[in-house]
Symmetry: C2
Subunit: 499 residues, 2 copies
């Protein structure tokens, strides 16, 4: 009798998935090169290479045979908790998402994104929402059509979010924000008072790029990023990209007046990178070898960036090393640096936000996105709605739309249903870190001695090694004993910022 992995349709699916991965990882490699080293005149041809590889990977995966193989595997009835069952579940989800939308709608999205991206850049530059509105209208209409194609129970937003966070729903996320917002409001008041004593330019100085690179590399290596299977390069917009099995590359940017931006950028991206490096290597290209969701991915980057990197132990260990690279830092104590990197002050720009106000930015976007998709808000009313809500939440009057509703690139890329994953990442990070502190003896002491291996090993076991074996919700429940919730993050914020 055939064992389950030898079931013919299952073997064919694995082979096809491996081939799709070859094409899409080649795309990733070309995309990485485009962002890092590619000379400008090759852009049109590179676009053609990427379109060709993307089309190839897509056609290979949406082929009718693939649907038949998936159906045959479902007929076979693999146990839901088996490797095979998990792969088939994810293949089904991905196949349905890829095939239920007609090709012409996908192509329409691609075309609309291309022009919307250009329009958004101009609109943000001129701070003119009017320039972007017609594009947002089109993208919103396409998103709604796609949601209809995919189908949903409660809200069309659920169908969109499922592309980034399988199983998450708008009503569930709404509930999380409803619990989180008042917590943040109360923490914020206390945190602002505490931060008043910390000068905004305490860390300002001269930090040569080469010294930052050397220090960042030491930190990334120490927390566990494997430079034999990855690297760090420089780009305007930092990212983490996997180019193939054993090849995960981070990027960062440098500000010579302050080393903090590149350092925490690297720790954040290394968090993503260590997740990728910890996925089951032999399963590259299979669902079980893939990161399960953006919310889980973001939990890894936030955990290392904020819970570890901005934690009370971090500068105790790293201060002397940092002083070797940046002699100016000798003037500050570890506690002063810790206070500086945890300074809380409401501001307009999400990507510059502190840890307390960050999720308020997300709450606002999530509220607007769901209202747009569910038809409760018109695009024309976005700026006024944004500004009014922003003032209520942050106590700041938005001076212009480029610092308000035009600041983020996501909508112009047609990414709707994406923002909430940032907050899910924060919630998951707090929950995982809380659980790790229970399960790893003396975790705080270890972190203060620069011993990161036990924490990484714990994350490897609980999260990284699981790939997409479980849904994100189930994965967090298995790792922490409870579903994604607000409690751990709320406790953490209170203890750290309002104690």
């Amino acid at each position: 009798m055939l064992t389950q992995p030898d079931f013919p349709a299952y073997k064919k699916l694995r082979k096809r998935a491996r081939e799709v991965a070859l094409a899409s990882s080649a795309s990733s490699a070309l995309g990485w090169d485009m962002e890092t080293y590619m000379p400008p005149k090759s852009l049109p041809y590179r676009a053609e290479q990427l379109a060709w590889l993307g089309g190839l990977a897509h056609r290979k995966f949406v082929a009718a045979q693939v649907g038949e193989w998936i159906a045959a595997c479902e007929q076979q009835g693999f146990a839901a908790d088996s490797d095979e069952g998990a792969n088939v579940r994810e293949w089904r989800r991905m196949y349905d998402r890829a095939t239920k939308v007609p090709t012409r709608l996908v192509e329409k999205l691609e075309r609309t994104r291309a022009t919307a991206g250009q329009a958004w850049k101009k609109a943000r530059q001129d701070s003119s929402f009017a320039l972007f509105k017609p594009h947002l209208d089109k993208l919103l209409a396409i998103a709604k059509q796609m949601a209809d194609c995919w189908g949903f129970k409660e809200s069309p937003y659920d169908a969109l979010m499922d592309g980034y966070e399988p199983g998450a729903t708008a009503s569930q996320v709404k509930q999380l924000f409803a619990e989180l917002e008042p917590v943040i409001a109360s923490v914020l008041a206390a945190a602002r008072v505490k931060s008043e004593s910390v000068s905004a330019n305490l860390l300002d100085g001269h930090y040569p790029v080469a010294a930052q690179q050397a220090f960042n590399r030491k930190v990334a290596e120490a927390i566990g990023f494997d430079f034999q299977a990855g690297r760090i390069d420089t780009t305007t917009h930092p990212f983490c990209e996997t180019l193939g099995a054993g090849d995960c590359r981070l990027t960062t940017r440098y500000n010579e007046a302050n080393f903090v931006q590149s350092l925490y950028g690297v720790i954040h991206e290394a968090g993503h990178g260590m997740y990728e490096q910890g996925l089951p290597a032999g399963e590259f290209g299979m669902p079980n070898g893939k990161a399960v969701s953006l919310g889980i991915h973001e939990s890894q980057s936030r955990l290392w960036e904020n819970h570890v990197g901005r934690g009370p132990e971090f500068w105790e260990y790293w201060h002397p090393v940092a002083c070797e690279h940046f002699p100016d830092l000798k003037r500050l104590s570890p506690a002063q640096i810790t206070a500086a990197v945890n300074r809380v002050t409401p501001s307009f720009i999400r990507v510059e936000a502190d840890q307390v106000t960050y999720d308020l930015h997300i709450a606002l976007r999530f509220d607007i996105e769901t209202k747009l998709v569910e038809g409760q808000l018109k695009t024309a009313d976005v700026p006024a709605y944004w500004n009014e809500r922003f003032e209520k939440m942050f106590g700041l009057k938005v001076p212009k739309d480029s610092e308000g509703c035009l600041q983020d690139v996501h909508w112009s890329h047609g990414l709707m249903g994406y923002f909430a994953t940032y907050t899910l990442g924060n919630l998951n990070a707090a929950q995982l870190m809380g659980r790790a502190a229970v399960e790893i003896p003396e975790l705080s002491g270890k972190l203060a001695r620069g011993e990161y291996q036990p924490l990484l090993a714990w994350l490897r076991e609980k999260i990284h090694s699981k790939g997409s074996r479980h849904t994100p919700g189930e994965l967090i429940r298995l790792a922490t004993g409870e579903p994604t919730g607000v409690r751990s993050h709320a406790d953490y914020l209170r203890a750290k910022f309002a104690a």
Copy 2:
């Protein structure tokens, strides 16, 4: 009536060629990354990506349909001197080369190369020909079988050489070496006397990598390498690789004790790069958009490296600029630097050879290769034959095979029929430069003022813009008025080294 470019089979061939180019240029990009920035642990997966893309490009091109389309175009009878005729001629040549060899023989070559490459490294390290001999036997047997598959009139070597230098024959190259060798012998005697007064370590000093990079870039930009469509990176083995339309990348290596290695390496590779950058851009992937042969490619690199870079005018112009980057150079005059970079002294290693003895290295390899392929020499006799001939030609006793017949990587890669293209490059370079000096008014004065544009424009018109429109022999005849011959190079060597 259909115009020729609209002939259906021709249009299909263009479309297919474009797709093959997309796959193979993606391979080139991944290959470049592998040599420059790839982290080591991703090697196995990168090999899988490259094998997949290579297989895809191969299958797309050798498909039976492609043969039918080529045959239909041949039936249609495009004029031999039309764009269409030239493309079809090259497609036919490439298609026959790709399809006449059975797949199992190609696979056998791949497997044999892989182990032979490892064995050669060890053999060279231990200077043990015995370690490499069994692999050379296998590779030679495969090369002969392939030559039989491709077919030939006079010598199986012709079939092998045709892969690198379409239309060239062993007997023609033999004749060239027969004329060239006595010229070199007589020039060498005089050149050695002249070089005795030049100290071997005249240029030794400390040249920081960053200063070398800055200076090399200035030179490469000045001669015409377009950094908007290319770049320079660092690798152990310098190369020039085209990653797509508008994307040609050079690499070099640095020796901080002497800037000459990286500088002339960059000028050489930039010569290759400017050829690639000057090919008809819209024809990327078509034969008419491709470099026609290695001998023509090498003519471009040698022309810029030797005729321009080691010419009498070069340091007149660059000396003050070089002194800005390398203040130590102020102690030397332009004439002294020129003499140092043109020092002639026989030595064992081809890649370190001066301009006079270089072609003797090639003559020796060509002689051995043809004798091996034609069955006049046994592999077991290669070391003895090499050493005996080397001593006659160079007046030096080869101390060990690692400095003799084991020094070059080519045979271990299964590259047979390749070496002669280096000398064809030298002959073509001298012939082109001779013609350019006639057709461009005051060329020498222009070079002395750092005005390289007229020379580049002339090469663009005569060589680069032609792609594979003509056979290499015809291209040189059209550009210089005569077929590739020894006279120009002989005159040049005599004038430069024995005057």
